[in-house]
Symmetry: C2
Subunit: 143 residues, 2 copies
DNA sequence: CGCCAGATGACACTCAGTTGCAAAAGATTG
DNA sequence: CAATCTTTTGCAACTGAGTGTCATCTGGCG
């Protein structure tokens, strides 16, 4: 009965369409993803889900993330030695700057870089399937 | 009594300088790194080391890679879901294109991309500590 | 409401890497 | 060259992230 279903990907519809059942755990996880502003890892999603329904298991979180990833509903990012972190798909493509002190993730986008990447792959005789561009840095302090 | 010691980083000197002991296992590992043309992972280095001295343990390989990484003598790359792969430092900075079919790694370099990265970080108020740019692709088939 | 393929929770397992520890082996000194 | 004092090693036990197995449960269709 809520009225938000046009901005973010409609996970329920996607799941149904893919012939995947909409179960209580999946509903909870998808709900979390929909409203989340950051890039949580599986354990964090599990914690948030447990607040709503403590019977949800971590395995189910992992499995669900796999399903959603397979449907293209979320993106998985494996930053610098940490566990995979997720974000809902659907927005524009972007890359990430990771704050080394806080773990915060800042999204950015550069058509020029994308373009140069294609040129490079072209020159090497390759077709890019996907790419990964991550900047790791610290806030510049104005002392 | 061999005569190559000017091209590649002189690991023995680096180790000694850092007050790290030059042991038989370390000598073997460093020897492998010096002559290797690819981007092996720890297990592969272990295998190659075992051919020379079968008493070397995998833990020692892991430990040694950590030490060398700490000294800045090698670079560690964590590509797409695989184990860490290593390459000797000392050459010019470059990024990587990974062949999804073979796992081969092709090195490339783009000053323009580097420059754009700095601009972006600058604009976001960050100093880049390091970055990761990986292209994943397949050989373009001329059908 | 009843059915049953698909999903779940619990738990064993894998894989990459790390750690604790007693034994071994570098380096440094006499 | 031997004594000594650390550092390093090999081994095996452990960790963390994620996967696989399987008996049980359940969503959604008739």
């Amino acid at each position: 009965m809520t009225k938000q279903q046009n901005q973010k990907p409609d996970y329920e519809k996607m799941l149904r369409k893919a012939g995947v059942r909409i179960t209580r755990p999946r509903r909870a996880i998808v709900e979390i993803l929909t409203h989340c502003e950051d890039h949580p890892d599986a354990l964090e999603i599990f914690r948030r889900a447990a607040e709503v329904d403590s019977s949800i298991s971590l395995s189910t979180v992992y499995r669900t993330m796999k399903v959603l990833e397979g449907l293209g509903a979320i993106h998985r990012h494996a930053f610098e030695g940490g566990p995979s972190r997720f974000e809902q798909a659907g927005g524009e493509h972007h890359d990430h700057l990771i704050d080394l002190d806080t773990g915060d993730v800042i999204e950015f986008k550069s058509d020029r870089i994308e373009h140069l990447q294609n040129e490079i792959a072209e020159a090497l005789g390759y077709d890019i399937v996907h790419h990964r561009l991550e900047l790791y840095g610290r806030k510049r302090k104005a002392s």
